[in-house]
């Protein structure tokens, strides 16, 4: 039976080119108009070491990485063993491996029922192509024949990747591709039914969350970026360094995380939209700057691409454990906004929202992404980049510049018009010290009360204007699931799966996390008898946070586990079944 939705996993050592192979598949299927979803997983080694990827390919839009693999391709079993806990197989997952590297003895019996093909990837590379480097391309060629990977698309991807180098490199790789395909056609009799069936359509984009986020920021008008290298956020800096100068912007690799945040505040004080991106440990270092942006009311966007923590943790893997520091980190009562993208395309949109909120409300905005979204590749339908209106900063009028009060209190929204250097009459001292309306330092408690209240007044209007949540499934279901960020994909798919079985389930994924969209949450909660809350946090930061906002009377089934491996659709479906 042919399939419209298959998942292939490829495992090897760093030098085997398995990630490149996965990227070729994603490019190939996207240029054929199909949808795909690529997850990469590495060991901690800088070069070499183990690496793996899983790519899901479908005729229809895919929401997640799916469940078990339909096919497992192994170039090295010793590397496979390092990933064994991350790779789920079903009863008939097809196993493909290099004939020189036999299945480990203790796995042979366990996998007796799996259709298995042994292909001489390494030997063909050496003997037919004269270089072992072509091993991954030969492997790709075999997948064309074995599982129906789109040949034309892979050829196009090879041409695009190597075309700039030389025609010879392209020809050599195309030859290797044909070699792998031919060997399978001549030597393997297929005994499984895993084969992609599809109808080509309009080509689509391939995006990573980090790049989509950087593009969104640029479209929103960000023209200053300061960063410090950190996994898994560095791709944001790389994209900015590649593109921002061409649109007149500036990118600085700062000496440390604190400096990067400080430069952003300085640029924004100068009236230029500015952003920095980091991961958990870097965010902690920026916490004091976050307090400064709150106090001085300087717009600022800080991206936190979360990784396993605490401390160095697992830099290459995802977790949802920076929520508490995003919402509460820093000293004093320091208002900030926290929003979380839910998929790759959402990284673009939430980056635009982040700037809109930061600029309009003169408040720091934390964009809380994670490694799962940031570093995966996803097929995205092309869209007009100006689909969202971009808002700017409130500036003082001519009249307001006479006896200008930078921090005037009598504004209904808490937003006081902000002058920028160069504006005559707008000179003022910004400060992290508590200040009066013109910016002079004060330690008077009546002013501290009034200014604190003013800074928090903005929340009401932010919630009114930017109460973004995603709702899926049945609004009137008595069973609901609540999750956030990158868990959206598996939740949406699990809900659809259960609906197809005749159950009624409703899901809510808030993109605006702080201030919490209470009204939307109340609407979701209405009529719910039982709830599932799912998060990649052992401590359960999300549920703790929600409970600090309201009382939930419905019983809660809390699925809270450490990250490293994203939730599967099956995990979420089973959790919901327990309360259905």
């Amino acid at each position: 039976m042919a399939s419209k939705d298959i998942i292939i996993g490829i495992v090897g050592s760093g030098g085997d080119g398995v990630i490149t192979a996965g990227e070729f598949i994603v490019s190939a299927v996207s240029s054929e108009g199909l949808y795909s979803f690529l997850l990469k997983s590495y060991g901690a080694q800088i070069r070499g070491g183990e690496s793996s990827c899983r790519v899901r390919i479908s005729q229809n839009p895919v929401e997640s990485q799916g469940d078990e693999l339909d096919a497992l391709v192994v170039l090295s079993w010793s590397d496979y063993l390092k990933f064994e806990h991350e790779i789920d197989l079903h009863a008939t997952t097809v196993i493909v491996h290099d004939e020189e590297d036999p299945i480990p003895d203790d796995h042979v019996a366990r996998w007796a029922d799996h259709p298995t093909y042994r292909i001489p990837f390494k030997r063909l590379a050496k003997e037919e192509m004269q270089t072992v480097l072509t091993k991954n391309i030969i492997m790709l060629g075999s997948l064309i024949e074995l599982f129906g990977m789109p040949e034309r698309g892979i050829q196009h991807a090879i041409d695009k990747k190597f075309g700039k180098k030389s025609p010879g490199v392209v020809a050599k790789n195309l030859e290797a591709l044909a070699c792998g395909k031919r060997w399978v056609a001549e030597n393997i009799k297929k005994t499984d039914d895993c084969f992609l069936e599809y109808t080509p359509s309009e080509p689509k984009l391939v995006m990573e969350g980090n790049a989509a986020l950087a593009l969104g920021a640029t479209v929103a008008g960000c023209r200053f970026y300061a960063g410090y290298p950190i996994t898994p956020a560095s791709e944001i800096m790389h994209w900015m360094a590649q593109h921002l100068p061409a649109v007149g912007g500036t990118v600085v690799q700062a000496e440390d995380e604190i400096s990067a945040a400080g430069m952003v505040i300085g640029a924004s004080f100068g009236g230029i939209k500015a952003m920095c991106a980091t991961s958990g440990p870097g965010f902690t270092l920026k916490a004091e700057m976050l307090g400064l942006a709150s106090m001085a009311e300087v717009p600022m966007v800080i991206v936190d691409v979360q990784r396993g923590g605490p401390s160095t943790g697992i830099p290459t893997k995802s977790e949802q454990t920076d929520l508490m520091q995003a919402v509460y980190g820093s000293h004093g009562d320091s208002p900030r906004v926290v929003i979380a993208p839910t998929d790759v395309e959402d990284c673009f949109d939430t980056a635009v929202y982040a700037f809109d909120i930061a600029e309009e409300f003169q408040i720091p905005v934390v964009l809380l992404s994670d490694q799962f979204i940031g570093q995966r590749k996803e097929t995205v339908r092309p869209f007009p980049v100006d689909r969202r209106q971009v808002y700017g900063r409130v500036k003082p009028s001519e009249a307001e510049l006479v006896g200008y009060k930078r921090y005037r209190l009598d504004t209904p929204t808490g937003i006081s018009p902000m002058a920028v250097p160069g504006m005559a009459g707008g000179q003022y001292p910004a400060s992290g010290i508590e200040h009066n309306e013109v910016g002079d330092p004060t330690s008077r408690i009546n002013l501290h009360n009034a200014m604190t209240e003013k800074r928090y007044r903005k929340y009401k209007y932010i919630v009114e204007k930017y109460s973004f949540v995603r709702r899926y499934g049945d609004d009137d279901a008595s069973v609901g699931i609540l999750a956030w960020g990158s868990t959206k994909g598996v939740v949406k798919e699990a809900v659809a799966r259960l609906q197809a079985e005749g159950y009624k389930v409703g899901a809510m994924i808030p993109q605006l996390l702080h201030p919490f969209p209470m009204e939307a949450f109340d609407q979701f909660l209405a009529g719910k008898k039982r709830l599932v809350v799912a998060e990649l946090s052992y401590r359960g930061q999300f549920l703790q946070f929600i409970r600090s906002r309201c009382t939930i009377t419905a019983p809660i089934h809390h699925v809270a586990r450490p990250g490293g491996k994203p939730f599967t659709v099956r995990e979420i479906t089973e959790a919901l079944r327990e309360v259905l």
Binding site: V247, V252, M263, G271, D386, V390, V420, G422, G426, G432
Partner: protein
Amino acid sequence: MAIDANQQPAAADAGQQPTADTGAKKHVPTDYKRDLKPVWCTGCGDFGVLQSIYRALAELDILPEDVGIISGIGCSSRLPGYVNTYGFNSLHGRALPIAQGLKLARPEITVLAVGGDGDGISIGMGHFPHAARRNVNMTYIMMDNFIYGLTKGQVSPTTPKGDTTVSTPFTSIDSPLDPVKLALAFNVSFIARAFAGDLKHMTDMVKSAIEHKGFSFVHALSPCPTFRGMDEFKRIRAAVNYVEPSAEELASKAAAFAREEEFVGKINLGILYRAARSTYEEETQLVRERSLKSRGRAPQMQELLGEFMP
């Protein structure tokens, strides 16, 4: 109050006025004075530094709205509040990152970073060499009082070894750092030292620093009578040694270093080192040009999305 939908405040949009000769009278020091009484103690050297900034800005005739003065935390970091320019009294040790961010985002603004010895070479030391190696076109005035004043008298990174302070009741056992020698090591492109007890000279130093193209550093000796005694002014005045190195000596780091080592107990005042180097703003502009050259022209936003097409 108007919502400005324009996402990018262009210089003209930001109310930038041409600074060319419009026949207006030149600025006087009081034009830069802001109506707020300093918190500093009587006799504090910081008053002299503040005056020198008023005078230097007036002599250079820079519009107050075209200046940004960024500070960290400390007695001296209160300074931006006393100047009628844009100012930012930020975080302890972080004046330089914020000042560089402002300058790189708005190169037409004259940017000064000010702060103390603790702010600059203790908690914020990590930023100093990097601002120097970028050679951002701005001025850093370090007001050195050899003590933590705002927190009431603890030992600082420039306090002489053997001094008694509230945190070193049995005398300080740490060797002091010399900001000028550090600046030489960091390859700062303009280094001067001045003394709050000589306003005319300090004004000249601040003025030359602002005029220098690149990252300029003024080590401003600014005594603290409250925590280091009324005699500190006298002690420094007795030790000062005005220098006017030749053009050749000015360009030599070795000569500058040797001069600092030469007279034990003497404090050299004057421009100590100066070099011409490209600024970070010039370099970032070159990056923009290289980037445009590699693409042919500036991309439309929709084209940036198109780059993701496989």
